[in-house]
């Protein structure tokens, strides 16, 4: 039996209510747009890069609690990280929310606050809400110009 608290944990409700790093960035080095046609979630991600290091990132847009909280948590987690670090975190995160296996304690610990999102695993329809910002980040880092869609 699922418990609602597994999905809508305090961290998620909090990050949805007051998202961190929310707002359009002045003079970003990279911008990417993400769209989830299923939910109507839309987000813009703004990055400042110093060579391979993400020195600043912010987002704006609208979406469900999961997508907003996920973007908020992601931007918090990645500030100051290198591109490679970011990819690594994404791969671990993606792996944990999509793979059908019990969570490895160490892996979960490495995710830190992002682990609050692991509840989506029980809701296949909502996994895309949690991963939209990550796919958008990927596209921003790659410098792709077409909007990312989860479909």
């Amino acid at each position: 039996m699922f418990d609602l608290k597994d999905l809508y944990q305090e961290v998620i409700v909090d990050h949805n209510r007051s998202p961190r790093n929310f707002g359009k960035m002045e003079n970003p080095d990279r911008v990417a747009e993400g769209f989830n046609p299923l939910c109507g979630d839309r987000l813009n991600l703004y990055l400042k890069l110093d060579n391979d290091r993400i020195t600043d990132l912010s987002f704006d847009g609208s979406g469900c609690a999961i997508s907003v909280a996920s973007a908020s948590l992601m931007t918090d987690a990645l500030k100051g990280k290198t591109r490679d670090d970011a990819e690594k975190v994404f791969n671990e995160f993606h792996h944990l929310v999509t793979e059908n296996k019990p969570h490895d304690v160490e892996e979960v610990e490495r995710l830190g606050k992002l682990a609050a999102l692991l509840g989506v695993k029980e809701y296949p329809a909502r996994v895309k809400c949690a991963t939209l910002c990550w796919h958008t980040l990927h596209s921003a880092l790659e410098g792709e110009t077409t909007p990312v869609s989860t479909e």
């Binding site: 039996m1 809508y8 409700v13 939910c39 909502r126 809400c129």
Partner: protein, 419 residues
């Protein structure tokens, strides 16, 4: 079972025998996340009564065979059952003849058929097609495609903030260039019941033909195509308690006869030589290939089920339900109804504070309540109300006041979590 419904209704029971009706729908007898299922997503698709499930099973188990071509017993039986469904459909919407009943895959295919067969052969550059701002994408996109192909122009009837057509604006759009009016009978996103008879009469006054999208209407209100005088009426089987992949195009015989075939293939021909083909008569001219035989037979069973219960009884029960849901929803803090038309049925579309409809959908699911969250394939409606999505509870005749209560309790829970 069905006899029980009929008996209960004819015995003059003052209340609708909803318990007996629910017993006919096996899927409703289950728990979701440990709670009794409350299925409130009927505008997306309806559940199937046992008689429909049995009809499919019976066909595949006992007389599966192709129709209109076999001389063997199974084929004769399948053909008879398939054509019996056509007759039931004719009676159900009071068409003048079975030649006017074309079986298709669904509402979407029926609209595309009319756009491509009727529209493409008739429309000239500068001709006008009128649709409305509250259409489902399936009654927008086929006309946009047709406009691209023929250089016809698409005109839009606007809606007001209650989600009603602005009839005055419709009157202004009509002119001698108007050739087709395609309008939804009941809006899937708003629940608005449109004044289709008036819309049809006004269109006919300028010699335009009218297609009515009845996908959301046929399960809720009696339809009489001859009284409406509509030129085309289209609907899906799966929103009428029948199988998916079935739908109906009703068209006036005179129009259908003049229209070129939509698809070529088997069953729609009389004689084929490598040089020329003589097309079959109505309705077969528009039914190329082997159709969804089991599905159409199942649709016939669904129509029987609805007819036995009585659309007048169904409509009265659902009116009572939606009135109750509207009154109860007014007590929920921050709930904004989308679609407050005076003439409205079966659909409660809303937003709740700043809570995203998808979060509402997930929280309700955990309470065993199935609703839809999203744009409901009516993005222009969302644009009108400046919202990305709504949460939508949509009712059928097997829904109860107790389920409305549970919906409201679920919404309270949403407010608790996000409050």
């Amino acid at each position: 079972m069905s006899m029980n419904i009929a008996q209960a209704l004819s015995a003059g029971r003052r209340t609708f025998p909803v318990d007996i009706i629910r017993a006919d729908f096996p899927i409703l007898q289950q728990e979701i996340h440990g709670k009794q299922l409350a299925y409130l997503d009927n505008a997306a698709t309806t559940q199937k009564p046992l008689s429909v499930i049995t009809a499919l099973d019976d066909y595949y188990r006992h007389y599966n065979s192709n129709i209109h071509r076999g001389v063997h017993s199974l084929s004769e039986k399948a053909t008879a059952a398939y054509e019996a469904s056509r007759n039931k459909t004719k009676d159900f919407i009071n068409a003048a003849s079975t030649k006017e009943i074309i079986f298709v895959r669904g509402t979407t295919e029926a609209i595309n058929l009319v756009a491509q067969s009727y529209g493409r052969s008739r429309l000239k550059p500068g001709d006008e097609i009128i649709i409305s701002e509250m259409e489902h994408h399936s009654n927008i996109v086929p006309w946009q495609l047709l406009c691209e192909q023929t250089s016809a122009v698409l005109r839009i009837i606007p809606i007001n903030d209650d989600g009603e057509l602005i009839m005055e604006e419709y009157g202004k759009l009509l002119n001698e260039k108007t050739k087709i009016v395609a309008i939804v009978h009941i809006s899937n996103a708003l629940g608005t019941i449109n004044p289709v008879k008036k819309i049809i009469d006004m269109a006919h006054a300028v010699n335009a033909i009218v297609l009515v999208d009845g996908a959301q209407a046929v399960a809720h209100t009696p339809v009489d195509v001859q009284a409406l005088e509509c030129d085309f009426y289209v609907f899906s089987g799966h929103k009428l308690f029948g199988p998916t992949g079935t739908g109906v195009l009703y068209g006036k015989q005179a129009l259908l006869e003049q229209m070129p075939p939509y698809q070529g293939g088997g069953d729609m021909i009389k004689i084929v030589t490598l040089k020329k083909t003589l097309f079959n008569d109505l309705p077969y001219k528009f039914e190329a290939g082997t159709p969804h035989i089991a599905g159409v037979i199942g649709l016939g069973a669904a129509i029987d089920h609805v007819t036995k219960t009585g659309l007048a009884n169904i409509s009265a029960w659902e009116t009572d339900l939606i009135q109750y849901a509207l009154a109860e929803s007014a007590k929920i803090n921050g709930l904004r109804l989308i679609g407050t038309a005076k003439e409205k049925t079966s659909i409660l579309s809303f937003t709740l504070g700043k809570i995203h409809p998808h979060d509402i959908g997930t929280i309700l699911d955990l309470e065993g309540i199935a609703i839809r969250a999203g744009h409901h394939c009516a993005m222009p409606v969302m644009e009108h109300f400046k919202i990305p999505a709504t949460a939508r509870a949509s009712f059928a005749f097997y829904n109860t006041h107790a389920e409305v209560d549970r919906l409201m309790q679920g919404l309270d829970k949403c407010l608790e979590i996000f409050g």
